[in-house]
Symmetry: D2
Subunit: 329 residues, 4 copies
């Protein structure tokens, strides 16, 4: 059943990949620690993938993954969303060691925020929208007035577009800019794919493992990772779509779990050729059939502001949760 | 199995509703005639629903439904798309009797094109986009210069928005405008929902039965129909989404059709509570989970030009297939 | 000097029209009362045009014109903008007598907000943007739950587009909708043209005199006025452009005022053919050359939220200045 | 009169800068050659700035400047626009020596197209729009199929945004990408500022001198020039705005030229403090007051397609003038 493993690659969420691995192997996964806690309006899960073996088992690189889950993300309510921006900022900062970033204590570290994805495709526009709302300051750092930069770190941002529009691997563009700007930290924001529909627009994932944008050309690609970029990378994302393959697969699993079925038929079902089944249901688009909520435009509008707000609060000491809306462009 | 019938209401395509009725009843449906023919780059199906009984059986009002199917709609190729605009125009005009429309032979009939749907939601933006590309002429008909209107009919257009944004039933807005403008014909364009993914962005439906925009408030609603508007209505649309409920349902049907299953298990499967199954897979969004191709933005951009082109050629005698692109705004 | 009078028609602001009339006639204008006051962050001027003679002199219909001037409108600062929404609401409500609107004291009056202008042209998009942000409620008034509508009046909204895109006079569309929806009050929002650049994006005008959208076809047109619509009309707008003709004219006036010029040359200048001068500078676009600030996109984004907020606070008793941002879509 | 010289910097067009220099100095400018010819639908001017002295006199760097002028650019007519794309391609290619670009005769040179300017500000969106329409191919050059790239050169593209949104000098971003992608040629497209309104949206300038995007931070900046980028740079642009300062200035010049004025008053006028005059007319926006035609959105839509088409024809041998529309995205 190699498809099961392929399906795991169709989720960008470590929390789902971990659950799928548990289901496959039928038990705990050594080398993976999970910690959960409840805060106002949100549930936070922190998964640590502690070694390479664990990473291979769940199909996600070694590192820390924080998941903030909140149904309130789906409801337009600025006050709750401001508070969630505060939660995002706090969780982000738990993965960043600012004192190590800057080369000298008197110098502000330079932070480069990357908005991955495509402006013109709503469910993929989270990254560019976040960049659009950010408080960008690096260009005022060169100016004479020390007051203008007081309480603000040096932040710059880029929405590099997608391979199909630029003809250039996104990570290549970023690596080029990183070599010029020499940031001390990269924050990469992207729309994610989930496996389960109840995660859509209700989950924010923050990790320190980097991210590989889009799909490659077969040849060895570079990623937006500390290894390839030379500086720490924080990746943030919100699932905005699920692949329709999951809907077919989940339906099949539900049917297999029907307790009224005679055992021999369950064997038959387990031997079903999943790929053929998926092909019958989803052709001609197959994996290119994307499932999103009806109100995706409003959801992207709202969640991009929560993430921008979170980044603004985390990076700029003078921006507080209670006044974060004032700084959103 | 009332859900089966509900599923039928989730497709806007008469050709699919007819197929589903055939499958349910297991044979021909009296009162429904079907005619198919092949033209360059497209296959045309004309379904006539001849009486009320037939209308109830397939769940679509009495009238004529033309389906133009072409995989070329999905590929950006202006030359083929111009030719398809010509096909659309020809099929449209087979449903319009211009000589009956105008009150006098020397007077141009006034045609009102309605672009239903929501500008800000890509898969729902077909109607407003079509209106945006149209050659609108009614306002130059009042002017002195008879040359300006030579070879052009009097066309006006409106994209009224959606209930959630206006607070007004869309058909109410249109009825109000119709009472003032007094058109001789209404053409209503909308994005449609299909049952099968292979219809997405590859099918154009044209009918003379009108259309009911969006979902109502429970109270008796008015439609964009000849009965409610007082003038003939041509409805045109292209399926841009399928409801994810269909994916669950199609998967179940494929599994039930597995010939290797022992007969008794097939009985169990047939007794499966479909609604519960759908709920397990699709909560919390349920019917609000919409499936669309990855490249929906480009598909909407291309198909809206094909439809606008078709309407321009059909309505304005001076616009020919070979020069239609020149007149698209 | 008929051009001077034509120039007066190129401003939509009563406060400028009044100043130009004072300058032309060299003194007070009888039948026009002016009252000024200062509030936090804004200066408010209320002009009453008391009779037809006064109306003709200043080229604006008889009625009340409130101008809210605030440089803070031009600076993105949500807290100040919320406070300005409160000022807008208060001034709006000084022109509305709600108790007279509703047919019965237990019934909510129905209010129709019209967003005039063109979505796709930034400086003309104020009206459609305001409509986009509004809290629209009329469609939930039909539902059973009395709680849902508690503290909210029945508001609906329409962005009818512009003549060039629809082929229908905008006021005709609105009159049609008014005849169906039967509102008790119309609020029409539009981008305005000013004479002086320092008014751009810093002035909000509110009047009870209605508005004539766009330019006509020569034949007698209907307006969005109480006379033509049959219900009271509040018109609101913000100047977003000046006509470049004003720049030519202002330059000429400044030169004429040069005290160093010998008297005889001033006579020569006063006899200058203004139209020829304008033609020499502005051809081939002439009056179609529009002057707007560089940051017009951000200005429209900000000011449309201030106006939407003001309308939301004015119309819905449960929306207060301190929570208005929560209700902006 | 230093302002006169400053005004020269407010035009991006060499043809205007040359005319202003001729007017200032009252005669031919040595080191500048001008050649004019007429083609179908357009007039072509080629200015060669032959040495540093000439460059300083007209305020434009040494190199070749081609101006294509056509009023037809302002009228939506796809056939004429396709033909103009052909003219653009021919003129572009007169500045490119392909055989020198590629490192080997069997290898395709890699061409990087840069779309300068801001997506979200209509008059500044020319560059990003051109990039959006381009046929980008570099990413398919890595694939196995030699047929896919037959007749196409390797083209990639980037719309880097503007300093205010990214916090990074645009030329820095490009230099970083150039260092990674190692293109053999850069084509940089930008919206330009003109001095005279009759140039707006009717002129295409192509030069081999590079371009300096936006305004700098005071410190020494890098440009998109052969010197800074290390590869040849073709700059292309269309004037979409004029600075309102020109309107004030042109008005003043017209008045000064009035033959009826007594000579002594002309002296007074010539001593007028221009800056003060400009301040009186244009405060508080001053140089940030931008003049654009009413229909700028449609003009940008049309002209961006003409330029994209021109680049597609010039770069890809298999794209011909007669089928260029087919390849516009």
């Amino acid at each position: 059943m190699t498809l099961q493993k392929d399906l795991a690659t169709l989720t960008d969420l470590a929390v789902e990949a971990k659950d799928m691995a548990v289901e496959r192997t039928g038990g705990e996964i050594s080398g993976v620690s999970v910690e959960e806690k409840q805060v106002e309006n949100a549930e936070i899960t922190r998964i640590e993938v502690l070694n390479q073996q664990a990473a291979q088992k769940i199909g996600k690189p070694q590192g820390s993954y924080i998941t903030i889950e909140s149904d309130s993300l789906r409801t337009t309510n600025r006050q709750v969303h401001e508070q969630l921006s505060g939660v995002v900022a706090e969780q982000m900062n738990s993965l960043i060691n600012y004192s190590r970033l800057a080369t000298s204590p008197t110098e502000s570290p330079v932070i480069l925020v990357i908005g991955l994805g495509n402006w013109n495709t709503t469910p993929d526009a989270l990254g560019p929208r976040v960049v659009h709302h950010l408080l960008v300051t690096r260009h005022i750092y060169g100016s004479a007035d020390p007051q203008a930069k007081q309480g603000l770190r040096s932040v710059c941002a880029l929405a590099p577009g997608v391979l199909g529009l630029t003809g250039i691997e996104t990570a290549e563009i970023i690596k080029g800019v990183v070599d010029r700007v020499k940031p001390d930290l990269i924050i990469a924001v992207d729309a994610l794919a989930a496996q389960e529909s109840n995660r859509l627009a209700s989950t924010i994932q923050i990790s320190n493992t980097g991210i590989y944008p889009g799909s490659g050309l077969g040849k060895k690609r570079i990623g937006i990772t500390q290894q390839d970029m030379g500086v720490p990378v924080i990746a943030m994302g919100i699932p905005t779509v699920i692949n329709s393959v999951h809907i077919v697969n989940d339906t099949m699993k539900q049917i297999q779990n029907n307790q009224d079925l005679p055992p021999q038929s369950r064997n038959v079902l387990q031997q079903t050729n999943q790929e053929e089944l998926i092909q019958q249901v989803l052709q001609p688009f197959m994996g290119d059939l994307i499932v999103a909520p009806k109100g995706i435009d409003q959801l992207i509008r709202d969640t991009s502001r929560v993430v921008s707000g979170g980044i603004n609060i985390a990076l700029h000491p003078d921006i507080k949760t209670e006044n974060v809306s004032m700084y959103l462009q």
